[in-house]
Symmetry: D2
Subunit: 211 residues, 4 copies
């Protein structure tokens, strides 16, 4: 059994990977904006999973604690938020184009074309990222979740409720969640209709009134 200090030591390169990737992904957005072009990335957040959550997930998934670094892909996680559904696929393409340079794409899970039963939608890309440590290069797994703002909004709510009911959400609440997932999808679809108008507009907007 790991003691707290061992856990903290293990997590240092994960903290570092999240910090570095936050800067790198935000840089993609800034490159577009400095050139007054529409950016498919709206904003980026990141976090390292809490020790208690790692242990809980390892138990739930029967992952031996010695294997978590190879088998748990979301110890380091970043979220890339997009305005429109089409932007998600553009971001995925950017990630694949970059594979083999400062990170390597391992595999993906398209929960947009194939939503989870709960209604969850997001595009997950798992990458291998090299971190420089005092002991040399260490390659770690990082999960990138790419979503629209509406998908993100819904996912936060669903996550809270899963915790409350320990994954046994009562049927009536489950029903309401499915309805709100439909409302979120409806909003994303309405938005897609006007997204081409906005992509050009944003460009002019940035030039005139960016604050």
């Amino acid at each position: 059994m790991k003691v707290i200090r061992e856990w903290k030591t293990m997590l240092i390169p994960y903290e570092q990977a999240v910090e570095e990737l936050k800067v790198k992904l935000k840089a993609i957005r800034n490159q577009y904006r400095e050139l007054n072009e529409y950016s498919p990335i709206e904003f980026v957040t990141g976090r390292v999973k809490k020790i208690s959550s790692i242990i809980e997930k390892a138990e739930r998934r029967n992952i031996p604690l010695d294997n978590i670094e190879e088998e748990m892909e979301d110890i380091a996680g970043l979220r890339i938020m997009c305005q429109f559904i089409d932007d998600i696929y553009e971001v995925v393409n950017l990630l694949y184009d970059r594979s083999g340079k400062d990170f390597t794409v391992l595999y993906e899970k398209d929960y947009i074309k194939n939503p989870k039963e709960s209604g969850y939608k997001s595009y997950h890309v798992i990458i291998k990222y090299p971190v420089q440590t005092a002991l040399g290069t260490k390659e770690i797994l990082v999960e990138l979740q790419i979503r629209t703002l509406a998908m993100n909004f819904w996912a936060i709510i669903e996550h809270s409720l899963s915790y409350k009911y320990k994954s046994k959400i009562p049927e009536d609440i489950r029903e309401r969640l499915r309805n709100s997932a439909l409302a979120a999808t409806r909003l994303d679809e309405e938005m897609t209709e006007i997204s081409k108008e906005v992509r050009n507009a944003q460009l002019m907007f940035e030039e005139k009134s960016n604050t």
Copy 2:
């Protein structure tokens, strides 16, 4: 006519007010979170209006440049984003409770009960905030916009399109905008249904897995 240097000097206390209020409003959220309670504030952003946008708005509204500090209420602006509609009214109450302490509420505009014709929804509270400068205390106007995440999403899109078409948005796009405003409202209403469930859930969630 003001030269650039005069404008910059004029805007220094506005920059300062935005920075101070960002810290103060974020502190409200942090107080809830540190006590593991649900926070009605999700996140806070702020900006000072660009000089070019101030001039443009002054022309549009026929405000003499000498009067802009008294008549233009959004030179300093903050946005408070909420998860649920009910949270907005809770935040407004918090602001009124605080009036007379470190700032004073002057008036409000409830564009949620009375949306703009375009479909725009938000709750605006205008406050007077004292800033300490080298020349003594200066009281400035600050506009606080309180909205749900869905209202914010829609407002950003609408703002881009208004700029593109210089406030003369073609009727077909205007129609699409109204449809997406309805979809955003629909999402907010579905969410309201499950908001009470979430408020309690969040609490437990924070205790167990906050990262």
Copy 3:
């Protein structure tokens, strides 16, 4: 005896005061810089004392835990770093001018004119700062330490050694510390000689090459 949760609750307004004052003190520096004038403030840092350090100090000073909020003046602390000795007194004047506005100066300790026996130099100003909390306005004590970069450098070293030897630093190391305090003072004095030259230079420098 307070439990951890009670301590954390007690410290929330202190965290808030430090955050707010950091923004306010940095704003003083920015005001000078945006006007291309020499700023007596070089940079500002802040911290809330750790719970373990509060308890340790309360024991050492025989302060009952129920009185620490009134008797321990450095639970919330900020450090204002200056380039030159003269800048320190200018900052102190600024603080007194502001007293009665957004904070009140209570008293001061001039460890520059009267260094501690160890060699420690700094100017301490204790203020009362009103913080807005969920329970209303709370006035807390905050210690502002104003120093040159050389004084700060020395103080950090001395602090580390005091901890190592639990305030019983061996005489030979104590001697070396006094020598390095003299070297720090020497540097500050040499710098004072050229400070007037620099104050004007900085101004031109900022206009030409500030990055």
Copy 4:
């Protein structure tokens, strides 16, 4: 002649390199601190040279504007501040150990063993850093300046005065600068005497009272 927009486009990867390297160098410090070990790095700052300063330097050094990316090594610059002189050499070793991984060390200039005539001391390491851009990988030059806090203090002052006098500093001020450089060196030497004591102390200090 480049127009502003071309300059801005050229500088984007430099901005990015500075941001990424700031995170990476700060991570070295954090690794030590999280393990409660003494860190040879105290803090890190970075900046991209202003367009006006690049042009001015190109003229002074007779660098054709088309060659600046190859010949001007400090368009992207980072400063690594150390407490003690010995720490500087430890940092240099860390950088060489890392060469060939996420960056490559090209060459160095040891202005500590061989100070400039003005009295300037610092250790410069020039690296080649690969940045991922929309157009693929771009390798750029970055200058890392490694110094003690006292060297940094002096260098800032000297830089201001060089600007004031356009590199023609009057002899009396030049003399004072040399004297203050001696005082700075004296302070660094006194500090070296007690640095070993501190390195162990810091360790215990961090464990007990780090805030």
